[in-house]
C-alpha cells in the first residue's frame, strides 16, 4: 500500500497493520522483530510515520477511565484529540495543550511531544501526561512516567515512536467554563514590532502570529499576532466539525509568487486598525485549517514540506530577519507562515521546543527547493537552533545531530530497553537513529 505523511512527500510502499488490542500489538511485534513504524492519523508531515511495516494505532481508540474530580483521562493511544474534545468539552474540560489540528492521536501527540499556542505558559503535551503504557516487544509492556522508568519516559515523549509502541496514556485535562475564546488580534508592521508584541503579551495564555514571509524591506516580518484566553461564559457548545473537503489535487501552478503575495497582502490587511477583539469558538481559534479536510492537496500532486525551526531567544531578531530575508528573496515562501515565542524547554531528549522563536512555513516540493532549505539549515544551526522532527522530510544526519545533541542519550535509552532494532522509520534511518 502506498502511503505518505501529511505533506504527501515522500511516499512509501509498505504494509499497514491495525492491531485492535494490546495482545495484537504484541503478536505483531513478535512476527516483525526486524522493525516496525508506529503510526496514528498520519499528520506528521514527512517520513516519521512511514516504514516497511507500519502499526496503525487507530483501532486502539477507547477511553479507559476518567476521574471527573481531577480531570484525569486514561485512554488508548489511538484516541484522537478531536474525540477527546467532543466528549469532554460539554463536560467542561479541554486539552491542556493542542497543536494546530485536532486530527492527531494521543500516541502521535506524545511521540511528537506537540506544542500549541500556550507553550510559553504550559509547555508541551507531555508535560500534562501522568504516565504512558508502552509495548516494547512481544513480552514486555512497561508503564513509564516521571517516577517509573523516567529515562524511557523522557525518550518516549518526543521520541517519534522509536522507543516502543504507545498503547495508552493518562492525560491531565484542563477545566474550562466556556467553549469560547476571547481573542484579540494585533497588527505588527515589521519583525521588531512582532517580537515586541510577544513580549508585551507574554502573560496571555495563547498567542501566535501569522507572518507575511513575502514582504521585504521595511515591512519584513510584518504580522498579525493573535492572543486569546478561555472565556468565562458563553456555554459549553461543541464544535460544528469539518465543513469542506478539497476533493482533488490542485494544480501546483496555482501556487506561485504572485498568488502567494496577493494572499499574504490581503490576509495582512484583514485587520485595519492596530488591534481588534472578538469572541470566537475554540474550533476556528485553534484549528482554522481543520475546516478544510485534505487541505494538504492544495500544494499539488508533488506534495509539500513544512519547514519549522526554532532559534534561541538570544539570537532573536537578527537571526529571524536573516532567515526571512533569504526566504523572501527566494520568492518561494508560503501562504501563511506561523511565528511563535516558546517558553522554556523540557527534559525530553528529542522534544523540539526551546526558549526562543519558532517559525513554520510550507513549501511546495519543486526544483531548487532543497538547496534553499539546506542553506536555511546552516543559518538555523549557526544560531544554535534546530528543526522540528514532526515536520521534517529531508534534513541530513549532521543537521539532526547538531540540533539535537542529546541524540546519543536517546540511542543509549533505546539500547538499554532493547528497542533499537524493533522500532524504526524512514526518518530514523535517514537521521542515523538505527
Amino acid at each position: 500500500m502506498i502511503l505518505h505523511g501529511w505533506g504527501r512527500y515522500p511516499t512509501v510502499d509498505g504494509k499497514v497493520y491495525h492491531p485492535a488490542s494490546p495482545d495484537e500489538v504484541r503478536h505483531l511485534l513478535h512476527s516483525h522483530s526486524d522493525g516496525v513504524t508506529p503510526r496514528g492519523l498520519g499528520r506528521s508531515y514527512g517520513d516519521s510515520s512511514l516504514g516497511g511495516h507500519m502499526l496503525d494505532c487507530r483501532r486502539l481508540d477507547h477511553l479507559l477511565a476518567f476521574d471527573a474530580r481531577k480531570g484525569l483521562l486514561y485512554c488508548e493511544a489511538g484516541v484522537s484529540l478531536n474525540d477527546i474534545l467532543e466528549v469532554f468539552v460539554p463536560k467542561g474540560w479541554f486539552l491542556p495543550v493542542t497543536p494546530g489540528t485536532r486530527f492527531v492521536t494521543v500516541g502521535g501527540a506524545i511521540a511528537s511531544d506537540v506544542h500549541g499556542k500556550n507553550h510559553h505558559v504550559n509547555g508541551c503535551f507531555s508535560e500534562h501526561i501522568e504516565f504512558i503504557e508502552l509495548c516494547l516487544d512481544e513480552e514486555r509492556i512497561l508503564r513509564c512516567s516521571r517516577d517509573e522508568h523516567p529515562d524511557l519516559f523522557r525518550a518516549t515523549c518526543g521520541g517519534m515512536g522509536l522507543s516502543g509502541m504507545i498503547l495508552s496514556a493518562a492525560i491531565q485535562l484542563k477545566q474550562i467554563k466556556s467553549s469560547f475564546i476571547d481573542q484579540t488580534t494585533y497588527k505588527a508592521n515589521n519583525l521588531e514590532e512582532s517580537l515586541e508584541l510577544f513580549e508585551i503579551h507574554e502573560d496571555k495564555p495563547y498567542s501566535v502570529a501569522w507572518i507575511d514571509c513575502i514582504a521585504q524591506g521595511r515591512s519584513l516580518g510584518r504580522s498579525l499576532l493573535m492572543t486569546g484566553d478561555h472565556a468565562e461564559n458563553g456555554g459549553l457548545v461543541p464544535g460544528k466539525g469539518e465543513r469542506f473537503t478539497l476533493p482533488v489535487d490542485m494544480p501546483s501552478m496555482l501556487l506561485n509568487k504572485h498568488s502567494i503575495k496577493l494572499f499574504n497582502t490581503l490576509y495582512y490587511h484583514r485587520v485595519s486598525g492596530t488591534s481588534v477583539s472578538h469572541r470566537v469558538h475554540y474550533e476556528p481559534f485553534f484549528y482554522p485549517l481543520d475546516s478544510i479536510s485534505d487541505w494538504n492537496r492544495m500544494y499539488g500532486k508533488n506534495g509539500f514540506t513544512q519547514y519549522q525551526f526554532v532559534i534561541p531567544k538570544a539570537a532573536g531578531k537578527k537571526a529571524l530577519s536573516d532567515i526571512l530575508k533569504t526566504i523572501a528573496a527566494s520568492g518561494k515562501g508560503s501562504f501563511l507562515a506561523v511565528l511563535k515565542a516558546f517558553g522554556k524547554r523540557n527534559e525530553n531528549l528529542l522534544s523540539f521546543p526551546m526558549e526562543g522563536y519558532t517559525l513554520a512555513l510550507d513549501f511546495k516540493i519543486e526544483k531548487n527547493l532543497f538547496p534553499l532549505l539546506d542553506s536555511l539549515d546552516a543559518m538555523v544551526l549557526d544560531h544554535g537552533g534546530r528543526l522540528y522532527l514532526t515536520k521534517d522530510a529531508r534534513m541530513c544526519q549532521e543537521t539532526f545531530r547538531l540540533g539535537y545533541p542529546e541524540w546519543t542519550k536517546f540511542q543509549n535509552v533505546r539500547e538499554r530497553y532493547g528497542v533499537r532494532r524493533g522500532f524504526q522509520s524512514l526518518q530514523s534511518k535517514r537521521l542515523g537513529l538505527d
Binding site: H18, A20, S21, D23, R59, H62, L63, L64, A65, F66, E76, V87, P247
Partner: protein, 246 residues
C-alpha cells in the same frame, strides 16, 4: 432515555453508532464475539455518557444459544427501543468459489444467523408493540456481481426478509429499518483495493444510521450517493451486465 441492544458491537460501524447513543445517556446492551474487546468498548461508552453498559459474549455460529441470550438482554433492558443487528463477515469470494464449506459459512453468518436472530427479536418486539429494529444489510445485496456474490446473496436474503418483516411488524407498531452501506473504511475492508473516492468513514455511516432510526426511514443507502449508484447498476440489462467485470 433509550434502551438499545447492539448485536455485533465490536464492528466499526456498530461501535460508532453506540458512541452516538452513549453521548445521549442511553442504556446499552452489547453482544459480540470478542469479550476482551467488548469490555474496553463498554468502559469507553460509560465515559462517553451511557447510563449503563452491559456486555455478553456471543458466537454467531451457535444459533441454539440465541434465544437465551436475547431473553437475558431483554430482561435486563426491560424494553428494546432500538435493536441494531450489525454482525457479519466479509469472506474471500475467490476462496468461496472452490469451497462449499467456506461458501456456506458466509451464508451462515451473514444470512442464516441474522434471520434466526431477527425471528426471535421480532416476536419479542411484537409483544412490546414499539421500538425500532435496524439491520445492516449491504448494497452488495442489490445485485449479484462476480466479485462478491456469496456475500451479496446472503445480504439479498436479509434485505428481502426485512422487507417482509417490515410489513408484518408495522401492524404492531414496530419499525424495521434496512441499512445498506456502500464501501466503508473498516477492518472488514482492510487490505482490499477499493477506490478511495467512494470509501466512507464509519462515523459518517453511523450518523446516517442514527438519523434514519430517528426519522423511522424504511431503507437507507449510506452514504446517500449509493442509492443512485445502485439504481444504475440494478437497471443494466443482464445480457450486458454478465459481460461486465464488476
Amino acid at each position: 432515555m433509550l434502551n438499545i441492544l447492539i448485536i455485533g458491537a465490536t464492528s466499526a460501524i456498530a461501535g460508532e453508532v453506540a458512541k452516538r447513543f452513549a453521548a445521549e445517556g442511553a442504556r446499552l446492551y452489547l453482544l459480540g464475539r470478542n469479550t476482551e474487546r467488548l469490555g474496553r468498548i463498554a468502559a469507553d461508552l460509560r465515559i462517553r455518557g451511557a447510563e449503563s453498559v452491559q456486555t455478553t459474549g456471543f458466537d454467531a455460529k451457535d444459533i441454539e444459544s440465541y434465544e437465551q441470550i436475547l431473553e437475558k438482554a431483554h430482561a435486563s433492558l426491560e424494553r428494546f427501543d432500538v435493536v441494531l443487528v450489525a454482525h457479519g463477515t466479509l469472506g474471500d469470494q475467490k476462496k468461496c468459489e472452490t469451497s462449499v464449506e467456506k461458501t456456506l459459512h458466509e451464508i451462515q453468518i451473514n444470512a442464516v444467523s441474522t434471520i434466526a436472530m431477527l425471528t426471535i427479536i421480532a416476536n419479542m418486539m411484537v409483544k412490546q408493540k414499539c421500538g425500532t429494529l435496524a439491520i445492516i444489510s449491504s448494497v452488495a445485496g442489490d445485485r449479484g456481481r462476480p466479485s462478491n456474490y456469496v456475500y451479496g446473496s446472503a445480504k439479498a436474503a436479509v434485505t428481502t426478509f426485512c422487507e417482509g418483516l417490515r410489513g408484518r411488524l408495522f401492524k404492531s407498531g414496530v419499525h424495521v429499518l434496512t441499512i445498506k452501506p456502500g464501501m466503508v473504511d473498516t477492518p472488514m475492508t482492510e487490505g482490499m483495493e477499493l477506490p478511495p473516492m467512494l470509501m466512507a468513514k464509519p462515523e459518517q455511516v453511523a450518523r446516517d444510521i442514527v438519523c434514519a432510526i430517528r426519522k423511522k426511514s424504511d431503507i437507507i443507502y449510506t452514504p446517500w450517493y449509493w442509492r443512485y449508484v445502485m439504481s444504475g447498476i440494478v437497471h443494466i440489462p443482464e445480457k450486458f451486465f454478465k459481460k461486465m467485470s464488476l
